[in-house]
C-alpha cells in the first residue's frame, strides 16, 4: 500500500493546528502573489515592455526580492516545518506550543507589513538593505530594519516550536528512534533558528543606528553574506526533504539505502553549509588570495549533500520500479504517477536543480568572479533554483497540505499538471538569455541597459528575450497562486469529508531484489559535464579580453 502517513497525519491534526498551518500558508501565498506581480513587472521593465520611473522600478525590484525571497520562503518554510514536525514526530500528532507559534506568525506578519510599507515609502534599499544607501531621514529605513528584526524573532519562535514538537514525545518517553524525516525536520528547524540569529546579527545594528541609538555600521557586507548564504541553502535542503516525503507518499518507495544513511546525509548539511559562505565575497578587497582559494575549494563540497539526497531518491525509485517490471534506461519512469501534479512539479524541479546547480558552479571559482559577479548571469541562473526548484517543490507540497487541512479538493489537477512545463519553459528562455547576457557583461539591477544608445550590441535584444521568458514564468506561477488561493479561501468541505486523493502508484508491494539504478548516477555525470562546459566558457572568455590586470603591486604609501 502507498504510504499514507502524510495524508492521515494531516487529517488527524487537531483543528486548532490546522487553523494555524492554514494561516501560515495563506500569508505565504500572499507573499508569493505580491512577489510574482513585482517579478513580472521587473522582467517586463528590463525588456522594455512597460516603462516605470527609475524610483518606482527599484521599489518594485525591492518588493520582488523582499516579498518572495524573504517572506514567501520564510512563511512557507515555517508552515511546512511545523507540519512535518507535528505529522511525522511519532506519537504527538499535534503541535507542542501552539500559542507560541501564533505569536511567531503575528510577529512575522508584522515584519512583512513593515518591510512592504517602508519599501514603498523611501529610497529603495533592495532586499539586502545596505545601510550606506540610506540618505537623509533615517526613520523609515529604521522601520525597514525593524521589519526584518521582528520577522527574525518570529522565525526563531517557529524553529523553537518545531523542535519542541519533535522532542516532546521523547521527553514523554512515548517513542523510540526517529525516522529520517523527523531527523531532517529537526535539522531544518535548527537551521531556521540559525537563520533567525544571523538575521538579528545583520539587521539589529543598522536598526539601532537608524533610530539614533547606535554607532554607524561598517561591517555589513560580511554579516549579510553569512545570513544570505544560510538563506539560500536552507530552502534547498527543505526541498530535498519534501521530495523525500512526497515520493514516499506518491509511490510508497522508501530509501533502499536505509534511514540511518539518510540521517547522516541530512546531518552533513549542518557541517558543510556554514563554512562555505566565502564565495559570495570574492570581489571584496578585504579578502586575501589564500582565503579565496580555500573558499573555492570548500565551495566544491557544498553540492555533496544535495547530490546524495537526489541519488537516494532517484536510485530507490529506479530500483523499486525495476522490481515492478520497469525496463529500459528511462522507460521505467513511466511507472511513476505523472498524472499527479505534485509528481510533475517535483520531477521538473529535479531538472531545474540540475541546470541551476551546473551553472552555480561557475560562480564558486574565484578567478571567474570579475567576469560574472553582479551581472545578469546571477538572476539568470538562480531563478532555476528559487523558482524552478524550491518554489515548485513547496507548491507541490501544498497540493497535499492544503486539501489535507481544508478538505477542499485540488483545483483542476489536470491543468495544474501542465504548469511545471510552462514555468520550466519560461525559465529556459529567461535563463538562456540571462546567462548569455551575464557572460557578455550585462549588469543586474539595471533597468535601462541601453545606456542612452551606447549599449554594446546584443544587450537590449537579450533583455527582450528575458522578458519573454518572464511572461511564461509569471503565467505559470500566476495560475498556481490562483489555484492555491481558491483552495484556501473556499469554505471548508463538510465535516468528515475526505479530500479527493491525487493519483498515486504503489511500487512498494514486492521485495526489491537485485536491480541496477543508472539514471541518478548518469544525471550526475551530465551535470558534471555541463559544469565543465560553463567553466571552460568562462575561462576562455576571460582570456580573450584584451586587458591585463594585476593588484596594486608595490604601491604602498
Amino acid at each position: 500500500m502507498t504510504n499514507e502517513a502524510l495524508l492521515n497525519g494531516l487529517q488527524r491534526l487537531p483543528s486548532g493546528d490546522k487553523r494555524l498551518l492554514k494561516a501560515f500558508v495563506v500569508v505565504a501565498v500572499l507573499g508569493l502573489a505580491l512577489g510574482l506581480v513585482c517579478g513580472a513587472l521587473t522582467g517586463f521593465r528590463r525588456a522594455g515592455f512597460v516603462s516605470l520611473a527609475p524610483g518606482l522600478g527599484y521599489k518594485i525590484l525591492s518588493l520582488h526580492g523582499v516579498s518572495i525571497f524573504f517572506y514567501w520562503l520564510y512563511f512557507i518554510q515555517a508552515g511546512l516545518v511545523l507540519m512535518l514536525a507535528s505529522v511525522y514526530a511519532n506519537g504527538t500528532g499535534r503541535l507542542v506550543g501552539r500559542p507560541l507559534a501564533w505569536l511567531a506568525l503575528a510577529l512575522m506578519i508584522a515584519g512583512f507589513a513593515l518591510s512592504e510599507m517602508t519599501l514603498t515609502m523611501d529610497v529603495p534599499l533592495l532586499y539586502d538593505g545596505h545601510p550606506k544607501l540610506v540618505t537623509g531621514n533615517t526613520m523609515i529605513p529604521g522601520l525597514f530594519y525593524l521589519g526584518y528584526v521582528v520577522m527574525s524573532v518570529g522565525l526563531f519562535l517557529v524553529g523553537t516550536v518545531g523542535i519542541l514538537t519533535t522532542l516532546m514525545p521523547k521527553f514523554e518517553g512515548s517513542v523510540g528512534p526517529w525516522s529520517a524525516v523527523t531527523f531532517a525536520t529537526v535539522a531544518w528547524a535548527g537551521l531556521l533558528i540559525v537563520s533567525a540569529m544571523a538575521g538579528f546579527n545583520v539587521f539589529l545594528p543598522p536598526m539601532l543606528w537608524a533610530f539614533g541609538l547606535g554607532p554607524p555600521i561598517s561591517d555589513y557586507a560580511m554579516k549579510w553574506h553569512v545570513l544570505f548564504h544560510n538563506m539560500h541553502y536552507l530552502p534547498l535542503m527543505a526541498t530535498v526533504i519534501i521530495w523525500y516525503v512526497l515520493v514516499e507518499t506518491m509511490t510508497g518507495v522508501r530509501s533502499i539505502f536505509g534511514s540511518q544513511f539518510s540521517k547522516k546525509v541530512f546531518a552533513s548539511y549542518l557541517i558543510l553549509v556554514p563554512p562555505t559562505f566565502l564565495y559570495h565575497m570574492f570581489l571584496d578587497p578585504s579578502l586575501s588570495e589564500t582565503v579565496r582559494v580555500i573558499g573555492s575549494l570548500l565551495s566544491l563540497l557544498i553540492a555533496v549533500p544535495t547530490v546524495l539526497v537526489y541519488l537516494i531518491i532517484v536510485s530507490s525509485l529506479e530500483c523499486y520500479a525495476r522490481a515492478q517490471g520497469g525496463k529500459g534506461l528511462f522507460a521505467w519512469m513511466r511507472l511513476l504517477p505523472w498524472s499527479n501534479p505534485a509528481m510533475t512539479a517535483i520531477g521538473l524541479a529535479a531538472i531545474n536543480l540540475a541546470i541551476g546547480g551546473a551553472l552555480s558552479f561557475v560562480l564558486i571559482q574565484e578567478r571567474l568572479a570579475p567576469l560574472l559577479s553582479d551581472t545578469f548571469f546571477v538572476p539568470g541562473y538562480f531563478h532555476f533554483l528559487t523558482l524552478g526548484t524550491v518554489t515548485l517543490t513547496f507548491i507541490a507540497a501544498l497540493l497535499y497540505v492544503v486539501p489535507g487541512i481544508t478538505t477542499n479538493p485540488v483545483w483542476r489537477p489536470q491543468l495544474l499538471n501542465k504548469l511545471p512545463y510552462v514555468i520550466t519553459f519560461g525559465l529556459l528562455v529567461f535563463g538562456a538569455a540571462g546567462v548569455t547576457a551575464g557572460y557578455i557583461g550585462v549588469p543586474r539591477r539595471v533597468f535601462d541597459v541601453g545606456y542612452g544608445g551606447e549599449a554594446p550590441i546584443g544587450w537590449e535584444p537579450l533583455m527582450v528575450v528575458v522578458g519573454i521568458g518572464a511572461i511564461f514564468m509569471s503565467a505559470g506561477l500566476g495560475v498556481y497562486v490562483y489555484a492555491l488561493a481558491r483552495m484556501l479561501l473556499r469554505p471548508a468541505g463538510k465535516a468528515g469529508q475526505q479530500a479527493v486523493a491525487l493519483p498515486v502508484v504503489s511500487l512498494g508491494a514486492k521485495p526489491v531484489g537485485r536491480h541496477p539504478a543508472w539514471v541518478g548516477p548518469l544525471s550526475v555525470l551530465v551535470v558534471l559535464g555541463a559544469m565543465a562546459v560553463f567553466t571552460v566558457l568562462g575561462f576562455e572568455l576571460m582570456q580573450s579580453v584584451p586587458l591585463s590586470a594585476t593588484g596594486g603591486g608595490h604601491a604602498h604609501h
Binding site: R444, P546, A549, T550
Partner: protein, 197 residues
C-alpha cells in the same frame, strides 16, 4: 524500512559507497580549475599559483591603497587639472616613454565614483602602457566594469576605499565603463568611457 541490507548482493549501483562516490564527483572540477592555473596543483606550486595571474585578467585580488578620502579627492583634482583636454576628456601624460623607469612605474590614474557619475568620465589612454588605476567610491559602494568586445571586466569599489589596480589595455578601441553595484535610483545613469588610442 525495506533496505538494501536485506539483499545479499545489491547491484553495485545501489550500494552506499557507490552513491557517496558519485556525490563527491563534483570535486573533480578541481582538475579543470587546475588546468587553467586557477588553483594550486601541489604544495610547491601553491605559492606561485596564488601569485601569478592565471588568466589575462589576473586574479580577483584588488588592492586597497589606504588613501584617506580627502587626500584622494585632492589627488584626483590635481590629476584632472593637469591632464584635461579641451573636449573634457582626460589624457594622463606619459612623462618618459623610454627606458626602464616607465616599465616599473605605471602611469597614475585617479577616478572618483559617486552617485551617479565617474569623474573623470572619459579617459584617453595608450595601448600596451601600464596604468595604475586608483578608484574610490566617494559616497556609497559602486562598481566600475569595463566592457570589451566579448566579456566585461568587473571591479567593485567600497565606499571610502581606493581600489588599486595596474591595467594594461592591449588593443585600441572605445570601452564603456558602467556601474555594477546598485547605488541608488540613478544607478543606471552611471557610465563613462575609456578610449584606447
Amino acid at each position: 524500512m525495506r533496505d538494501n541490507s536485506e539483499i545479499k548482493r545489491p547491484h553495485p549501483t545501489t550500494r552506499r559507497g557507490f552513491i557517496v562516490l558519485c556525490g563527491f564527483a563534483v570535486v573533480s572540477l578541481y582538475g579543470l580549475w587546475a588546468s587553467y592555473g586557477a588553483v594550486p596543483t601541489s604544495l610547491g606550486t601553491a605559492k606561485r599559483a596564488m601569485q601569478t595571474p592565471a588568466t589575462g585578467m589576473g586574479s580577483a585580488q584588488d588592492m586597497d591603497s589606504h588613501i584617506p578620502v580627502e587626500e584622494f579627492r585632492r589627488r584626483a583634482r590635481a590629476f584632472v587639472d593637469a591632464n584635461s583636454l579641451p573636449d573634457g576628456s582626460v589624457k594622463p601624460a606619459i612623462a618618459d616613454r623610454s627606458g626602464a623607469a616607465y616599465i616599473s612605474e605605471p602611469v597614475e590614474v585617479y577616478v572618483m565614483a559617486r552617485q551617479y557619475s565617474y569623474w573623470p568620465a572619459v579617459l584617453r589612454l595608450g595601448a600596451n602602457i601600464p596604468y595604475r588605476f586608483r578608484i574610490m567610491a566617494m559616497d556609497t559602494d559602486h562598481g566600475a566594469s569595463i566592457k570589451f568586445k566579448g566579456a566585461a571586466y568587473m571591479i567593485r569599489v567600497r565606499a571610502g576605499h581606493a581600489v588599486e589596480k595596474v591595467l594594461v589595455f592591449k588593443e585600441p578601441g572605445e570601452y564603456p565603463i558602467y556601474c555594477t553595484v546598485y547605488c541608488g535610483v540613478g544607478h543606471d545613469l552611471m557610465k563613462g568611457r575609456i578610449i584606447v588610442e
